[in-house]
Structure formats: C-alpha cells, structure tokens
C-alpha cells in the first residue's frame, strides 16, 4: 500500500537529517562536559559541518528537489550565521526565544479571555503595561519580595 512513496519519503528523511544535524550541533548535546560548549567550539563544529554540506551541494549527486532544498538551507544558514552562535559564552543566555514567545502567547490568551473580546487590541493599548507588570510581578516579584 505505502511502498510507492518509499523513495520520496527517503528523500525527505535525508533532508530532515540536515536539520537534525544542525540542531544537534547547536544544542551542544555532543559535548561530554558543559564547559566545552563555547561559541568557538560550537562555531567550529558548525562551520566544518556546513563545509561538508556545501561539498554535497556541489557534488552533483543530488536529485533536483534535494538540490533546491539544500541550496536554500545553505543560503539561509550562511546569511544568518553572523548572529547564529553567540549565546554559549554568556551564562543562562537562551539559544531560542521559544520560552519567551510561549510566555507572551499564554498572557495574551489569558487576558483576551479576561477582556471578553475576540480582538483585544484596544484592551491591550489601555491595560497592556499593567498586565505586563502584574505578570512579571506574579512570576518574579512575589518570590523576591518574600526573600
């Protein structure tokens, strides 16, 4: 039933492996000790891996779709590389802003419900500062006040 898609799926899996390899380098899980994860170390690994992918792109061995996807992948990484690896030398510096975006999204959802509006822009303009301050206080301020 499914075997007619075997080769297409294999191709997508090969391409996904590039994304997972990048993530593996960037998440630092390859390091035996945390101290090894520095901007320099991550940068060196990342650049070496990037050169391997570049060689693959130039090898002429890829299917047209893979070639197109790899060209885009390499182009974006090269373009954003100057700001890609800066977080490792500063303690507790996050490498993604997912947590922050999730936090803001949760606040927005909660206060949209509190405001009772589908679109809470007007509410946000009027009370946004207080909402942000209260949420910050509820998260951090109350614990530091107790201390």
């Amino acid at each position: 039933m499914c075997h007619r898609w075997d080769s297409s799926i294999e191709q997508v899996k090969r391409m996904r492996a590039w994304v997972l390899a990048a993530e593996h380098i960037l998440d630092g899980s390859w390091a035996e000790r945390e101290e090894e994860v520095t901007n320099q170390q991550v940068g060196q690994r990342f650049d070496a891996w990037y050169r391997e992918l570049q060689a693959l792109a130039q090898s002429g061995m890829l299917h047209d779709d893979e070639q197109h996807c790899l060209a885009h992948f390499l182009q974006v990484l090269a373009h954003l590389r100057p700001h890609l690896i800066h977080c490792y030398d500063v303690a507790q510096f996050p490498r993604t802003n997912n947590e922050m975006e999730g936090y803001i999204r949760a606040i927005k959802t909660r206060y949209r419900r509190i405001s009772g509006r589908k679109n809470w822009d007007a509410y946000l303009l009027r009370y946004g500062r207080r909402v942000a301050y209260y949420e910050w206080w509820a998260r951090v301020g109350s614990t530091s006040a107790e201390a």
């Binding site: 990048a22 993530e23 700001h83 800066h86 510096f93």
Partner: protein, 145 residues
C-alpha cells in the same frame, strides 16, 4: 519605530548582557545601534525553521499525496464496518470491532500533523501507515496458521 519600542528598556538603566530575537531585520538594526557591543543571538529555532521551509513544504505535499487516495476509501470502509457492527454477533462482531480499530488507526494516521522545523507530517503518516500495514500482515499470517 523599533528604537522607540525599546526606549523604555534603555530608560530603566539596567545592564543589558545580551539580546535574542528572531531574524527580523528591523530588530537586528535597532539592537546593533542601541547596544553595539552586546552579543545578539538569533533564535536558532526561527533560523532552522526558515532554512528548512522548502523541505517542510515538500513533506507537506507528500502527506497530501498519501492522504488523497486513502481518505475516501477509509471513510467508506468505516461506514461499511459501522453498518456491519450493528448486525454482527459473536466472533464476527469481534472481527468487525478489530477491523474498525484498524480503520480508525488509518484515519488517524493520515491526519497526523507536523511542526516545523523538526516534526514532519509526511514522514509521520508514512511511518504510521507502514506500522499498520505490518500489523495487518501479522494478523493475516496468524489467520492462515
């Protein structure tokens, strides 16, 4: 505009050790101007999401391609099984219930979702369908023994 948005942060006078943002150029320029010496990290999740966009698109097309021929058939099969279930008794009822579970499994499999940049729906659908196919082959083998 971005500098105006960030002005209250500067007014706080707290030391800024670093900045993290998605890959928006306006934010990059504002941070470079306001805090030229701090490390500015782009969100790696956003970067990989942007870099993998065509790969994800290809996977999505593949999912649609896989789902199309199966969707209509599985609906019909489920409807048919539902009708059979109402009249079947004894071992036949058990058999129909098992087949209904498989059909539901296929329906669920073809509707699996992905999330960029790491989870791919097409791959998930394919792997789930293969698992169902293997399981059905096992059942068939046992039935023949």
């Amino acid at each position: 505009m971005m500098k105006r948005v960030l002005a209250p942060v500067i007014a706080l006078g707290v030391p800024v050790l670093g900045a993290i943002s998605d890959a928006q150029e306006s934010i990059q320029l504002a941070i470079a101007e306001l805090w030229p010496t701090i490390p500015h990290q782009l969100c790696q999740f956003h970067v990989l999401r942007e870099a993998s966009r065509p790969i994800y698109e290809q996977d999505r097309k593949l999912k649609v391609e896989m789902r199309k021929p199966i969707q209509e058939r599985v609906r019909k099969v489920r409807k048919q099984l539902e009708q059979q279930r109402q009249t079947a008794t004894g071992p036949e009822a058990e058999q129909v219930a098992v087949l209904a579970d498989y059909a539901l499994g296929v329906q669920t499999a073809i509707n699996l979702e992905g999330k960029q940049p790491f989870d791919y729906a097409g791959i998930a659908v394919y792997d789930a369908l293969i698992a169902i196919q293997r399981s059905l082959e096992e059942v068939k083998k046992k039935g023949q023994q």
